[in-house]
Amino acid sequence: MDRPLTKNINLDRPPLSLKEYEKAGGYAALRKVLKGMSPKEIQKLVQDSNLKGRGGAGFNTGTKWSFVPMGNDAPKTKYLIVNADEMEPGTFKDRVLLEGDPHQLIEGMIIAAYAIQADISYVFLRWAYRKAALLIRKSIEEAYEAGYLGKNILGSGWNLDMHLHTGVGRYMCGEETALLNALEGKRATPRAKPPFPQVSGLFGKPTIVNNVETLCCVPHIVNNGADWFKGLSYTDDGGTKLYGVSGKVNKPGCWELPMGVTLRELIEEHAGGMMDGYKFKGALPGGASTDFMTIAHMDTKMDFKSVAEVGSRLGTGTVIVMDDKTCPVGFVHNLQHFFAQESCGWCTPCREGLPWVEKILLSIEKGEGKPEDIDVLEMHGELLGPGNTFCALAPGAMEPLQSALKYFREDFEKHIHDKRCPYS
């Protein structure tokens, strides 16, 4: 089985230096691109490979690039940013790529920057990833020394600068316009769209923001072609996927697998099944902001379309497993606490609604809930749903809540009826 993204990764030793990375075939894709591919050709290639954004939105990456104004009339100074502010609860896959093979990311960034003819690129890294920061900084220096960054890269006449930006750690930065504000030294609040960042992003200039895993796929697509990339997958979405599993399983972890393995395979095979004494109750398939899947969904293929068909989202593809001894009310309360904390406060429904939801869940968990509280929670699902808030944070927060009310409603009712948490 091909594992292009993790083939060089062994977290027990330091990542490959630039020389070692080159020896393993690294930077060949960049050479190929600069020798004879036009930016438009690369956009088309990536579009054809059906690479979809790995940050959770699942939008075709090549298509996203194609919205950037090109040619001599395009605004001067364009930006390529990699979002390495990984903070979706349950998600710890980008850290593996950042610490495991930083040059793979840098090569992907340079090629992506070339495809949109960017002038400056930033690695927007969450502050907490200290180890990754050191490795990325060192790797960028190596890439400058080797002539892969800077002026007239490999004699192509094209220039690109790259910098590490380690400002923040804030969930809001998953929303790319909020990330842009953070990168401009402001609060991470979202901007109105349109204009979209592809046209008016960082400092008002055309900007592409891509996820770490997304960009790591790019050199491999250039080396091996769109059909090869599509062939890695079990489904229509191209490529492999870094899946993860956390919770009370025997071997929590992160693995690169063909896109479209089933939830069952992930949990039972790769994560080694549930720990002794615990049973599977439900799972959030792609981070905290996705709807629960249940035992009935175990054979669902973990790709964008199949997960959507059972009412959830692939999100980041990192599964949080909830066991039968964890109280669903308490667990959802924990998640809503997270979302309430991370709300940027920009728009009223999110700023006021999430703490309200958190409070109600806490009172139910403590045995102080009233029957009508369930209606209030359901009402929030609508009030904070898509279209009613400025960005996707609050609608995302409602996904685990609404699905918990659907699948584990008895648990909520029992808390209210018995006036105590049956799990404590």
Binding site: E86, G244, F338
Partner: protein, 166 residues
Amino acid sequence: MPAFSQEKLLKAKEIISHYPEGMQKSALLMILHLAQEEFGGWLDVPVMDYVAELLQIEPIEVYEVATFYSMYNLKPIGRYIFEVCQTGPCMLRGSDHIVAYIEEKLGIKPGQTTIDGMFSLKTVECLGACGYAPMMQFGKTYREHLTREKIDLIIEECRQNAEANN
């Protein structure tokens, strides 16, 4: 007014050079981290004013950012900070017990610092180490698969370090 050491000032200038001319405000968040390192682990108002002057922006632009991001400490903080992740995946693996154990060992609640100024306890949101839960950030490192025994060792390690450096 506080001022950076020569070394930190050079570092700040290097960071500022990463952004186009006139866009030096982009360096604010990174420079606030430098300031926190330099001035005792937290951002007092004079420190924020100094950063504003350095970046040629208004003080309010610094305050509104410093109060927004949770990694900035706006009051004095302990020499060693336990930042325990409490979000979903860590909760499933017992982060509540880890927090309770630290509370018991140090006699402080989250958000507090021990009287001797040695330890602070913070509960924080997802640190992206969900497969290695429960975990915490401790200085510049991640401490993963936490147990009571590991907490005991870390506290002991801090006390020895502090003694060696005093």
